[in-house]
Symmetry: C2
Subunit: 482 residues, 2 copies
């Protein structure tokens, strides 16, 4: 394999100009899934991707996902699925890869230094553009892997199944059911042996990582209402029980300054930390300075790396997000809002079952409100929830990715978890019953979702090498490691 990879790496390097041009074409299509009027561009981007893969001989299909829920005049962009080589080689493992071809909104006026939909490479080889790192770079990574194998004349080491969606930045509408159907007997993804998703980021900027866990998220609303309409605080202040006062009482009882969740019973749901796990955190390439830099301040809860990483990855957290229905503009308005809805969410971890969390939240919020003895009316409900995910990092899927990463980058990758959610990860695990690996291409400074999103050229090109090597190591891993 070593010789094959040498040849593959050289070919990737020689094609790097073409690969950047491919990314430039993709970034130029403003495939913003959240904006109705861009739906045509989202579809165009899906078709561009399908076309690139068909040119390389892959079998591709654009699968319709139906109308968009709550926007019935809009057709969802298709799932672009495919298989390479077009004919299955039953002697090889089958790897299902996922990515998305839609992007977050972006306008130059948001504060971008360059046109967001023109790839701009600066003198430090940082490639700026919306979607560069999230997720067009990684998605095209798979395309480039195929092309480089062809140009290098190397046999493709696995059967590659592909699933690329166009609604990831808008809740992956319609995708879950599709994956479940296609992963079942007779479906397109039926024969996947493992899954790989490249849609997250290194923990820092220097050291690659493999990610084996994500927190879940349960998002709640607390509605308090009373008066029939908004009131003038001059006329009614002091005579009406104000919904805002009740809401602030309840919301200030949820969490303390140090992020301790004050809802009884939550702590007890969390899996205890083992001695073995405890020892993992100290070697992770992460410093408090990394945290301070990304926070833009030193207002951290902990002053040490271990507690910080454990809180981010393996303990739950509760954040207050805002209030709907209250005055939210600059300036002064003397309104007593008639109905206010407070928003908060809990990041969940093993072994918190979302239904158990809901019950504890609802009971506590109602208890706190009942103790106020207010005449106003409270309603607390779940807006949405996605469960946490933790995979086994000892599976051959991870072992292969670790070997590939070390081969390309010369260093063993960190095994990390993440504080955020990528709900499709759990869907792939549950639908296929197979191991899922998160293999990031970009780094922590890529500013996905923000202005000036970028992908470093080295992360792109070395990432293409890593993805390709991963498939070679996958082909060689013994089955018993599973």
């Amino acid at each position: 394999m070593a010789l094959q990879l040498d040849s593959y790496f050289k070919t990737v390097d020689s094609l790097s100009g073409d690969f950047i041009e491919r990314l430039r074409k993709a970034v130029a299509i403003p495939s913003i899934s959240a904006e109705d009027e861009r739906r045509g561009d989202v579809v165009k981007m899906g078709m561009f991707l399908k076309g690139e893969l068909e040119k390389l001989g892959a079998h591709m299909e654009a699968r319709p996902l139906g109308k968009q829920p709550h926007k019935e005049h809009l057709e969802l962009p298709p799932a672009i699925i495919g298989r390479y080589p077009a004919e299955k080689d039953t002697s090889k493992r089958t790897i299902l890869v996922y990515g998305h071809y839609d992007v977050q909104p972006a306008n130059l006026s948001d504060g971008w230094a360059t046109e967001p939909f023109e790839l701009s490479v600066d003198d430090k080889d940082r490639m700026y553009g919306r979607g560069s790192t999230d997720d067009k770079g990684p998605v095209l990574g798979w395309v480039n892997v195929i092309e480089a194998h062809q140009k290098a004349g190397i046999e493709f080491p696995v059967n590659l199944l592909m699933c690329f969606e166009g609604m990831e930045e808008y809740g992956s509408e319609g995708l879950d059911d599709f994956i479940i159907k296609e992963a079942a007997k007779g479906g397109f993804f039926e024969d996947a042996d493992a899954c790989c998703i490249s849609d997250n980021y290194w923990l820092g900027t220097e050291k690659p990582c493999l990610t084996y866990g994500l927190r879940g998220c349960s998002y709640y609303s607390i509605e308090v209402s009373g008066p029939g309409q908004d009131l003038h605080s001059g006329v009614f202040g002091g005579t009406a029980q104000e919904p805002m006062t009740d809401l602030f009482s309840v919301m200030s009882s949820l969490v303390d300054r140090d992020g301790n969740i004050l809802i009884p019973g939550i702590k007890e749901l969390v899996a205890p930390v083992t001695t073995e796990e405890q020892s993992l955190y100290k070697d992770i390439a992460f410093t408090m300075d990394n945290l301070y830099e990304s926070l833009g301040s030193k207002t951290s809860i902990f002053d040490d790396k271990e507690n910080t990483l454990m809180r981010r990855w393996r303990f739950p957290s509760l954040s207050l997000h805002g209030v709907e229905g209250a005055f939210s503009a600059p300036g002064a308005k003397t309104v007593i809002p008639a109905k206010v809805t407070g928003k908060f969410s809990i990041r969940t971890v093993p072994n918190m079952e979302p239904e158990d969390v809901d019950k504890l939240v609802f009971k506590y919020v109602k208890d706190v409100f009942d103790r106020l003895k207010s005449k106003n009316t409270l309603n607390v409900f779940l807006q949405h929830s996605g469960k946490w995910w933790v995979a086994s990092p000892n599976h051959w899927n991870f072992t292969a990715a670790a070997k590939a990463t070390e081969h390309v980058w010369g260093i063993k990758p960190d095994l990390t978890r993440e504080g955020g959610s990528i709900p499709v990860t759990l869907t792939f695990e549950q639908a296929t019953g197979k191991n899922v690996l998160l293999l990031p291409m970009g780094s922590s400074t890529d500013a996905a979702h923000s202005i000036n999103e970028k992908l470093d050229k080295s992360n792109y090109i070395q990432g293409i090498k890593t993805l390709g090597s991963y498939l070679h190591y996958v082909a060689e891993e013994p089955i018993k490691a599973a």
Copy 2:
């Protein structure tokens, strides 16, 4: 005087059609001071008013007030001031009246049942239209008083000074300085003996009132900041001290469910209730059903009229208005806001000096925040304040208005205070050093500032009679009553 008033009333009745037409013309001019593109209409309305008064022989001036602060491309609409009769009769008292010719914004799409800028009279003689009651009806009331005197051939009983502004609904920009200057020696308002403002409402719908007190308002912002930018709650939840958590802790410590202000020292600033004052409330034409109707609910703090009125008129209150910088839209967003600004205000009453209130608020908010021992940064500041106002209802100005009201409506008016603020009231009192009377024309159901604003035809026509009679009674009141 009795014969004169009979003749005056008959003339008002006979001209009522003309007076409604005058109001129709005024309502048709969308003089919205808050909307830049309507500035021309505001000026047009001021000129219409000036023209109507000039046709009746008044001496009128349109006084420029300069550029609009923070919007230097806009000229403020002029103060329309005048004197009637044009030549001063030194044997008569001089009454300075105030009103405003601008209106709140209004769009049919806000939910109006009729076009807001077309006066629509329904089968119950309710005249709907933006500005009908606030404040075009009352302002035109003074014009109509003059016309009816001329048509009836009755000598005008006083010297009338007029001050009509076009920015009341946008903070009366530029007016305070103007009033102070013109009330000083040599100014246009120098010789006012008393002031009368018709820009508020009856407490209910049946019984007229005279208003002798208003609460003040001190509006505060509490800023809490920490991170350099908004954070993702998945990545940072549990590792950063969140400004929202701190803000909710602080804001939930300001006031309780029953409107009791929790800031130490505030209560001690409030003038004690005397036995005499205590006895005034039970006779006021107001019921708890009036309150429930205007609240649109039964979520009142008190179940009795006396406590409700005292809380509205003569005790301070504290209302939470909202949060700037947090998530405020429908739906779910997993943001940890980097900087949030909570807004609240305190309605102030005698003898609360605004500066004393500021000091107590700042100290308490800082103390509560300090006890949190948060790494975030707090800043608390006053956005604006207007002082409370209480006049002597025993002054001849009030006695005259009470006699006029009783003459027209057949019932002694209630002497009321209000929970809200009309800052110009205090300005007139302080600038002229004379008694100021609030003499409302409209009733509690007029929906000023809301959709479907209206003025009942009877309130308009009887109001014109009341304003005119008031001037006659003013002329007869002995000086000693002052």
